[in-house]
Symmetry: C3
Subunit: 136 residues, 3 copies
């Protein structure tokens, strides 16, 4: 039967704890919660793409995409995107950024379902996103 494969894109560190950035088993691919950290540089601590929602959201989406691609998938395969924000006041702006981003991705399949809720995140982080994909 099919094995579970860990997905660790070149842009990501080895995971800092006993979890995988993403896993694929058969046609199911799960992306772990991503935040807006810039691509990993050897010897540097994880650094957010910027203090604002725009930079962090775009970087977070890029990080999710890198994991999808590492597993042979893309946005078209994503069934569910979970968006965690820290501030209800960020919803409208996140939607604008999200919509513009997905316009550019030129999806050929319907967009994923989504749930957005407002939670606590570590200091300095405004957004976290995870994703579940089903490959064709």
């Amino acid at each position: 039967m099919s094995d579970k494969t860990a997905l660790t894109p070149a842009t990501h560190t080895a995971p800092p704890a006993k979890f995988s950035h993403g896993v694929r088993k058969g046609n199911i691919l799960q992306v772990a919660g991503q935040v807006g950290f810039l691509p990993h540089e050897e010897g540097k601590a994880p650094t957010p793409a910027g203090p604002g929602l725009r930079e962090q959201t775009l970087q977070t989406l890029a990080n999710v995409k890198a994991i999808l691609e590492e597993g042979g998938a893309g946005w078209d395969d994503v069934m569910m995107i979970r968006v965690y924000l820290t501030d209800v006041g960020h919803f409208a702006e996140m939607n604008e950024i999200y919509n513009a981003y997905f316009e550019e991705q030129a999806l050929t399949q319907p967009p994923a379902a989504r749930t957005t809720v407002y939670v606590g995140l570590p200091a300095g982080l405004l957004v976290e996103i995870d994703a579940l994909a089903v490959l064709s």
Copy 2:
């Protein structure tokens, strides 16, 4: 290979952002986070079923069900229900409403697993629910 289908019941607006109310691909169906908005009326803004937990929970469950049915599924196919409340004090009442609702649905399969957590939601909304189904 199987395509991803967007599920947009007649009761729902076209999604306000680049996401789907639900998607189905093969035997997997994911319902996006639903809230207690009444069925869409042309030219009217989304309106919660009421200010209270009961009306909102029942409407939210009806909205989830509409998406399941649009995808050829029903509550019996649901594996996981995520319930987001805004107030720990609402847990007991939500459970009562939830139990009575599912009694009425006359499930022929075991009920779904569930996780309930307490988060922030946009002003006026007390509950959000999403669901993952696996069709037979």
Copy 3:
């Protein structure tokens, strides 16, 4: 086609509401949100394993594992673990406990993906965990 089976380990009560502690259908197994309650004793109310993060996290993981095993699965089959904490200040300690726990589990497959967010939980509970598994 395959039926949905409710997973109720001997350590668990009958669920207190119309949900299952876990369900399996075909090769998909979903574990409901678990907390750090000790194994059920007839006539006693649910009791956390202790007031602290360590006891609760370890008990919660044991509770998830019991449900996986009831469904014929184990940690190696888990694709996604969702960790809900109540305090951002608990992240480092949770990671230590989590890593040590999974070292001991002697996984033969890559660890699951994970999302950790900070939410409200009922009084006295510091952690809740759910899991999605795909069996081979």
